[in-house]
Subunit: 146 residues, 2 copies
DNA sequence: CAGTTGTTTTGAGCCATTCAAAACAACTGC
DNA sequence: GCAGTTGTTTTGAATGGCTCAAAACAACTG
């Protein structure tokens, strides 16, 4: 399922975003790409494999930079640490398990999402609609039933 | 704008939820009711007016209890502390200002919210859909334009 | 290859929130 | 009403996720 990202591909993305190409950045980009939704700790765990000794702080810095540059999307479900994913550009949504906090992607049924244009916006100039579904993941359903 | 809650009304709600009626609980309930979206600190500020000396910790305890009992709804927009509101039961959504973090209620245009039934749910048993809009509030639009 | 500027690292600090134990008060039954 | 029981509040401390700041360092420029 993972669409691994090659070094040079990652490098191109960084340059295109006007960011310097560094080992930590390449490592983070590779760690997140195609691996679902990872929090800083999970990314760090992966980065350390490729770049032993990398401090967690650096992972925070890089994640912040990559997110700021639009190379990574960030979600912050209530009750979870911030998570990062490489799937950007499309405006997909997420399901979060209320029991184990697992996260999965969800594609909206309705292309243009009619209900995502609120009736009364209280004067707000809206530019994004974020949808989060809550439920039980398959594993937790089994455990709850069993 | 605020629908003030009377002491006895609040008391009835607490009893109905099987909770003991205490001064801090009444104070928190009154502080939140009809006052939009308040975080623990804001609630505390209000509670202290009615009940001087009340520690913030108690406000956390009470908010947790009231939320657990379904008397208060809790939202946690990314980048903000948890906020509580008294408007429950209807499944309304929220707009958050990306600049000042102000929050406002939003009623979904589509009653049954078709796009809130995801196509592929990855095996999740979904029970809630949460929508958060992001944009600039009226004040921040003015400041950005001026 | 040296300079400049942006990055990484080191280290400390913060805030919202939670945990735990002791002091206390609301409800129950008498 | 009053005492007991149980749930609450309070006190105090601790946690986790993250940010801030300065110093060490490395990527790009010419």
């Amino acid at each position: 399922m993972a669409t691994a990202m090659h070094r040079d591909e990652a490098e191109a993305h960084l340059r295109a975003a006007g960011l310097k190409v560094t080992a930590p950045r390449l490592a983070v980009l590779e760690a997140v790409t195609g691996n679902g939704h990872l929090d800083a700790d999970a990314v760090h765990a992966r980065v350390v494999e490729a770049l032993p000794g990398t401090p967690l702080q650096s992972v925070y810095n890089v994640l912040g930079a990559l997110h700021g540059a639009g190379l990574l999307r960030r979600i912050e479900p209530a009750g979870s640490a911030a998570m990062y994913e490489s799937r950007i550009g499309d405006n997909h949504h997420h399901v979060v398990c209320t029991r184990c906090h697992a996260v999965a992607d969800v594609d909206c049924v309705v292309g243009e999402a009619p209900c995502l244009v609120p009736a009364a916006a209280s004067g707000f100039a809206i530019h994004t609609a974020e949808v989060t579904f809550w439920g039980l993941c398959a594993d937790c359903q089994r455990q709850a039933a069993g």
